[in-house]
Symmetry: none
Subunit: 230 residues, 4 copies
C-alpha cells in the first residue's frame, strides 16, 4: 500500500539516524574517556576538574553531562573501560596461546601485565575507589575485576584438572596473586631499574608463580616458562 521506496527510505532513515546517533555516542564517550585517562596521568582523578576534562576532550562541559551522569560516572566508565580492555587482551592472547592450559594461563597473565603497562595511569584509578565511589559503582568495578579473574581461573582449573598443578592448590589464591603481580607492575614499577621492562617482569613473575604452583611432573614440560625469568 505504501510506496515501497518511501517505506524503504523511512526505515533506512530511522536506522541511519540511530546508526549515526550510536556512532556519535561511542565517539563522544571515547573522547571523554581518553581525555580522562590522559589527564589522570599524574594528577589523580580528584585533581581533574570537569572543565579541564572538557577542555582536554575538546568538548563542552555541558555535553559531558549528556553522556555521563556526572563526575563519578566518568570515573566508573574509565575503570570499566580498562577492565574491558584487560578482558579483551586476556581472551585474545589466551586464544592465541593454543589449548595447553598452563600456556594459556601464562598468556593471560602476560596480557594482563601488558595492558597494565600501557595504561599505567588509568590503572591507578582502580585504587582510588574506596570512598569516592558510591557502593553501587564500587560493586560494578569489583564485578568487572572478578570477571577478568574468572577467565584466568578457568585456565587454572583446567590445568589443575589435567594434573598439571600441585594437588590441593588454592586456585582462587593463585589467580588473585596473578592479578596483584600484574597490577603491581603498573603501581610499583619504579622499584625496578629503568632497563627492566614489562617483558622481563612477565617472564620473571611467570616463572616465580609456576615454580610455586606447577606439579613436579609438569616442570619439564614448561621448562621454557620456568627458566625464562632467570
Amino acid at each position: 500500500m505504501a510506496d515501497p521506496q518511501e517505506l524503504a527510505d523511512g526505515l533506512t532513515e530511522e536506522e541511519a539516524r540511530r546508526e549515526i546517533s550510536d556512532v556519535r555516542i561511542r565517539w563522544r564517550t571515547r573522547q571523554v574517556l581518553d581525555a580522562a585517562v590522559r589527564l589522570m596521568n599524574g594528577n589523580g582523578f580528584h585533581a581533574v576538574s570537569m572543565q579541564a576534562l572538557a577542555k582536554e576532550a575538546d568538548i563542552s562541559v555541558g555535553l559531558i553531562y549528556k553522556y555521563f551522569g556526572g563526575k563519578e560516572d566518568v570515573v566508573v566508565a574509565v575503570v570499566l573501560d580498562l577492565v574491558g580492555e584487560i578482558q579483551s587482551a586476556i581472551s585474545e592472547r589466551m586464544a592465541a596461546a593454543g589449548a595447553d592450559p598452563v600456556e594459556r594461563l601464562a598468556a593471560g597473565f602476560a596480557a594482563y601485565c601488558t595492558v597494565m603497562d600501557s595504561h599505567r595511569n588509568a590503572s591507578l584509578l582502580t585504587y582510588r575507589q574506596s570512598g569516592v565511589l558510591s557502593s553501587q559503582a564500587r560493586n560494578r568495578v569489583k564485578m568487572g575485576e572478578l570477571s577478568n579473574l574468572s577467565t584466568l581461573r578457568k585456565a587454572a582449573a583446567q590445568a589443575a584438572d589435567a594434573g598439571l598443578l600441585i594437588p590441593g592448590i588454592d586456585l582462587d589464591l593463585l589467580v588473585f596473586d596473578l592479578m596483584l603481580l600484574a597490577q603491581g607492575w603498573a603501581l610499583k614499577s619504579w622499584h625496578f631499574p629503568p632497563s627492566y621492562d614489562v617483558g622481563r617482569y612477565i617472564a620473571a613473575q611467570t616463572a616465580a608463580v609456576l615454580r610455586s604452583s606447577l606439579a613436579d611432573d609438569a616442570r619439564q614440560t614448561y621448562r621454557h616458562l620456568l627458566e625464562a625469568g632467570a
Copy 2:
C-alpha cells in the same frame, strides 16, 4: 655585652622551653596524624577537609598550619608514619623470630601484612599520591618503602647465603612480591570471603612464596610454613 645572669638563665630557660616545645610538637603532630587516619577510613583523603581534620584532632585549624605546611604535608606525614610503623613491626617480629633467616623472612612478611590489615585505610593513601604530591614528597615516600624492603631483603640474602633458597633466585623480585602481597591484602581483601582473615592470608601466601623460592633441601625444615596454607 650580654648580662651573664640573663645569659645563664636564658640558656636554661631556653633549653627547658625547647624540651617542652619538642614534646608539644610531637603530641600535636600525633593528634593530627591519628585523626587523619581515623577520618580517612572510608572516605579517602580528598574527602577530608582541614576543618574536619581539626575537629577530629580537637585542635584549631590554624594550629595545624603551625605544625604542617599544608594539606599535602599532612598526607606525606601520614604515609611516612605508616611506613615507620611497618618498619618497627617488621623489625620487632623479625627479632622475635630468632636467628633462622627463613623464619625471620616469614615473620617480617607476617608483620607487614598485619600492619597493613590494621591500617587498611591509611595504606590506601600510598596509592593516591602519584600526582597529588610533589615529586620531592613522593621520593620521600618511596625511600621509606625501600627501607622497609631492605630489612626483608637482608633476611632473604642470609637465607640465600645459607643455601636455603633456590640458587640464582632474584632476591629483589622476591621481596618486591612480598610487598605486593602484603599491600594486596589491604587493597583487595574484599576478594575473599568474610571468614578469611589476615592469619589465613599470611599462612597461605607464605606457603606460596616459599614453594616458589625455597631450595629443595630446605623444604623439610620449613614444612610447617609450607603446609600452613593448605
Copy 3:
C-alpha cells in the same frame, strides 16, 4: 515585473499557506502553554527548564524559540492566557446570571474564584514576575488584570446606579477586594481545612462582601446570597 501566473499562484498558495501556518502557530502555542501550566504545578516557573518544557509539550527545544522569543515570553504568555481565561469565565457566568447587577457581580466573583481554583499553580505566577519580567511585559499583565476587573466594575456600577449598594461606596475598592479574595483562594487556601472547598469559600466571601456593600433596602432581595455563607 513579476510573472502574473506566478503571482496568482503565489497569492493563492500564500493564502493557503498562511491559513495552515496560523493554525499551526495556534496549535503549537497552546501545546507549549498547556505544558508550561502543567509543569509549573508545584515547582514554580524557575524550576522548569526549557528542555523539560519541550519534552512535556512534545516539541523540540528549538521550535519553542520559533514561537516564543525566549523563556520570559513564555511566562508572559502563560499569565496572559490565564488572564484571558478569567475574562472568558467571568463574561460567560455573568451573562448566564441574567440581568440583575448584584447577581451578575456575584456570578463574576464566583467565576474568578473557580478559575483561580483550577489554575491554582499558574496563578501563582502572577506573583512571581515582579522583577523577572521587563517592565513592558509587566504592564501587559497589569492591563489584563485591569480589564478583568473592569468587567466586574461595570456590574458594580450598575448595582450602585440601581441603588442596590451603600451610597457613596468606593467601587474601585470593592472590585479590588473581590480580586484579592479570589486570588487569595489560589494563594492561601491551605489556611482552610481540606474539607473546605471553593464552593464554600465563594459562598462565604460573597456573603461577607455583600454584607459590607449592599444597601439596607436590598438585603432582603439577596438574602440567599447573604445567608449562603453561614
Copy 4:
C-alpha cells in the same frame, strides 16, 4: 582554693566570648537579611545569586554558609523575619490601642498593613514558597503566618464574645480576609493612584471589613472607624 579573681575572670571571659559570639551572629545575620531584602526589591529571590547577596551584604560567600545552611535557609529567614516584625508591630499597636477589642482589631490590621507597606518587597517572598521551599520550610513559614493571625483572632473573639460582632460570624474567615487585604496592599498597590497611601487604604478597608462584621448595636460606637474610609 582557686584564685577568686581568676575564677571570676574565667567565667567572665567565657561569658564575654559568648556575648561577643552572639552579638556577631546577630549582626551577621541581620547584614545578610537586610541585603537580601534590598536585592529582592524587584528581582525576586531566584534572580539573586549568593555571590550577589554576599557582595551586597559586604561579606564573603563562604561566611553566609556559616550562618545559614544554604540559599533556602536565607529565604526562610527573610520571610520569618518579616513574620516576626509583623507580629511585633501588631502586638505593639494593639497594646497601645487600649482594651476595646474592636479598636484592638483595627489597630492590629493597621499595623499589619503598615509593615507590609514598608517591606513591600520582602513580602512578595511569602508568595514564592510553593515549590521553591522544602515542605518543612514551607511549614515553618505557614506557622509564622498563622501565629500572626492568631493574635488578631483573639481580639476578634473578644469582640464576638462582647456581642460587638454579627452573631454567628466566621472569625477565621474574618482574620483571613484581614490578612489578604493587608498583603494585598503590598502586592497590588499599583492598582491605586499614586496619591493613595497606606493610611487611606487602611481606613477604607477597615471600614469595609467592619461594615461587614460589626453588629448593628455596635455601629454607633465605632462610627469613627466606619466613616473614616469615606
